[in-house]
Amino acid sequence: MKTGLTRLLPYVLILLVTLALIWIDKPFWIQLAIGVAITAITALAWDILSRTGQVSLGSAAFFGIGSYTLAIFEPLIGLTLAWIAVAVVCALAATLLGLLTLRLRRMYFAIATLGFALSMQVLVVVFPDLTGGSGGIAPPVLADGDPRWQLGLIGLLLLAAVAISDTLLGLRFRPAFFMIRTKPELAAASGVPVVRMKIFAFIVSGVLIGLAGACYGGLYGYVVPTDVFTTNWSVLPLAIATLGGMDTTIGPLLGAIALKALEEVARSVIGGTGYQVVYGAVIILFVIAMPQGIVGLLRKVGTLTGRRTATGEKKKERERHA
């Protein structure tokens, strides 16, 4: 259904834009691209989890755990092992949270994961000896503080996230994930180890968000709990994936670009802090106007120009209600 060319598009896009920006070396564009890439990784990770029916509002927990793990472990075991520790700690947290929320469906799952993220923020402040409390902590600076190399590294992580997302959209995982989401009993009756698959998706998602959080912490080498454990990092991935188009790889990417562009335009036109209100309102309008996200809109345009059948849209619509 999907041609090889469109499959390669995200990779080519990321590579070209990253290399071009490193070449041009304009600080504003590099910072913007870093912001887009980090949010895109979290949105892809959120989408991967949602394909198994687990709609999480706990991304901030993993984002924060990632940056704090890197900061806490780097002085103890060195930089390389600290990065491995980020993956291990996030995988453990994902397994634990996944098992605890296993039987919760939809809204209850979302609330439980939100609670986890909020309690992590409190936990950090409660143990100041280890975490620096509300004063923050200093993770190792990424790429010696050179924004171009920072963008390069974060671009690589984004490429990895895209490859993982694509793999999980392949025949081995996509049908099983969707079946778990629509009717877990049917998946189990088809031989799918449902619990193991849900935890697996949770681990992949949690580790990706944790690595993105560790990169974020390393941008300036200093984070406070409200930087990373804020609900913003829980809502943003969901908003981006919904805006861009769920169950796709290109959707979260386009969503991240659109949202960041929107934020920048709102900031420069309106300024102050008032821009956030307008920014929020515009997001709501977008979601209402494009229930299938940007990807859905593009498909609709494709339909009008006769490249796809009209029934293709109805299917997408049905899936969203499934």
């Binding site: 081995r172 996509r174 079946m179 009993e185 189990a188 031989g191 180890p193 499934a322």
Partner: protein, 260 residues
Amino acid sequence: MRDTTSPSPARTSVPPSGGAILAVEDLTVAFGGLKALDGVSLSIAAGEITGLIGPNGSGKSTLVNTVSGQLPVRGGRIRLRGGEVTGQRPDRIVRAGMARTYQIPRVPPTLTVEEVLSVPLLYAGRDRHRLPELDNAAAIAAFCGLGPLFRRFCGDLSVTDLRRLEIARALACAPDLLLLDEAMAGLSHEDSVEVMGLIRNVHEQGISIVIIEHLMRVITTLCHRVVVLNNGRLLAEGAPATVLADQAVREAYLGKGFAA
């Protein structure tokens, strides 16, 4: 390969029952204080089509849900081909050789027929050589009359085709025993005749079948044997003609007015 995917052998030294593919002993399942199954013992003969009947609430669906691993067992044991499967996970039981269908097939509407069938083919982990003609999605779809719909989205299928897909999905698990939960419910006469033909073809592949069914016509034409449940207990079992003529069965199943 079969040995590694089989469940652990029976805990006691009871030998595998002669011709039984599924043996249920003293099975009790309860929801709170209500016993949905109350000490049911029965065995399903290998190679046969067995009808499982009984009035609403008699425990038919509870029995299917329990032996397929989706409801917890309070007492008793379940053995599949002599191996104990009591309390096993549903996906393990599928791998041990028992597949089931659902009455209301709820498949993801954005998946194609091909993609749905790929799931059991990838995950049920069964020895495909048992059904050499049916070892891939295209062959299974064609066998179930879904050949032309192979690349269609499930959201576009008719009720009859969804029923066919449910049977195809279960068939893709390469089962030794197939449990069909009201495969004909809500179908027109013509469609149910077609699905009955499909069930017969599945049986000819050497697969033992249990049918839960309300339509007596289906039971009498398809089944070699009938098992009747009432109030969570075994009421009768035997050849369809004998069982359906039984006064107790007629009263339980049809109500006293009809039975008179």
